[in-house]
Subunit: 210 residues, 2 copies
Amino acid sequence: MGRLKIKTVGEKATRIQRKNTDIIMDAALEVFSKNGFGGTTIDQIAENAGLSKPNILYYFSSKEEIHLSLLQGLLVKWLEPLRQLNPTADPITEITSYVQRKLEMSQEFPRESRLFAIEILQGAKHLDKYIQTDLKELVKTKATLIDSWIADGKIAKVNSTHLLFSIWATTQHYADFDAQIKLILEPKNNDTNLIASQYLKELFTKLLSP
Amino acid sequence: MGRLKIKTVGEKATRIQRKNTDIIMDAALEVFSKNGFGGTTIDQIAENAGLSKPNILYYFSSKEEIHLSLLQGLLVKWLEPLRQLNPTADPITEITSYVQRKLEMSQEFPRESRLFAIEILQGAKHLDKYIQTDLKELVKTKATLIDSWIADGKIAKVNSTHLLFSIWATTQHYADFDAQIKLILEPKNNDTNLIASQYLKELFTKLLSP
DNA sequence: GTCTATAAGGTGATAGAC
DNA sequence: GTCTATCACCTTATAGAC
């Protein structure tokens, strides 16, 4: 009768498991991204999910397991924009498009962005193996691609790795520091996303123009 | 014999109070910036400070009071680089100097940077009044200054508020996401700070050149 | 000012009925 | 699969001796 990973039941039960697992993870994302791991209680997750605390612990064996599942499930999605960086297209268009994709992802998934940010901020203890392998490898590949564009004279000479850092920093800032931005900007400003998009396009276009 | 704010004792006692208060706040900064508010226990602060838990609570009436004291003490220092932005000097030099000051501050006080970041990330609940007054006012003043530089044709036309956002984002990134950066860069890279400094100077110089 | 002891309440996780 | 009840532990904060 087992835990999640042991599938001994039929189609219908599996579907219920999947559905409830999704509900719990969404509720947990909501609370973890707002209060951090330590500031989150299973009770809060349970209330958010509309389930009882023991029921949460029927699907996940511990609070930490929920947290880990969330982080690991996030990684593939989070790297997708960078993976799409295309060697054959126009370099500046490619990079500014990447900036746009990253910005849109932060705006569309602010909870995920914050969860990720909190985790890195606190030392990346649960992601370090992944960062040292998958992310490091991907950065290396894409930095090499950018370096080849520089060597071909297609874009200006810049440090390709720090270029990536600054793209991450500027795009994620709008999701992660949203509270600060909202408090500073006038409430009437409903076009923050558009302005941010245009500003960042200009920032990186000017940097990279040969 | 009263709490911190009531000064009924002589010079010597006051000096001890001040010394222990500083020790506690430094220990608390260490732990809060690493584990967040919820992930921190008074026991951890006590151990870090080399004091007993009740002794901590002799100087501060609660865990939250320590946290608040830290955040509020941080604000003046954190805004100083922007305050120094000088209306009379050369605009591009002024802005790139500001970038350097902000970068140095993040590198020199990474714990403060992370504490601040975690607070904003989680909704800025304890700083919202300050952000809406002091910071908003300062940003308005300095954005107006930058706008006047644009009007005078001294720098390129950009959105001045988003310029400030991108400066904060890029400079704080090196402190806040240090764990990720260290894992991605080769261990041999000891000159990250220098490269970051040069890269950011180029990024903003190109953006702002008329 | 600093300590030991402890109250008071919250939290993660489990047992067992349904 | 889901619930109520509960255990065992941890944590904040206080009381009171020194």
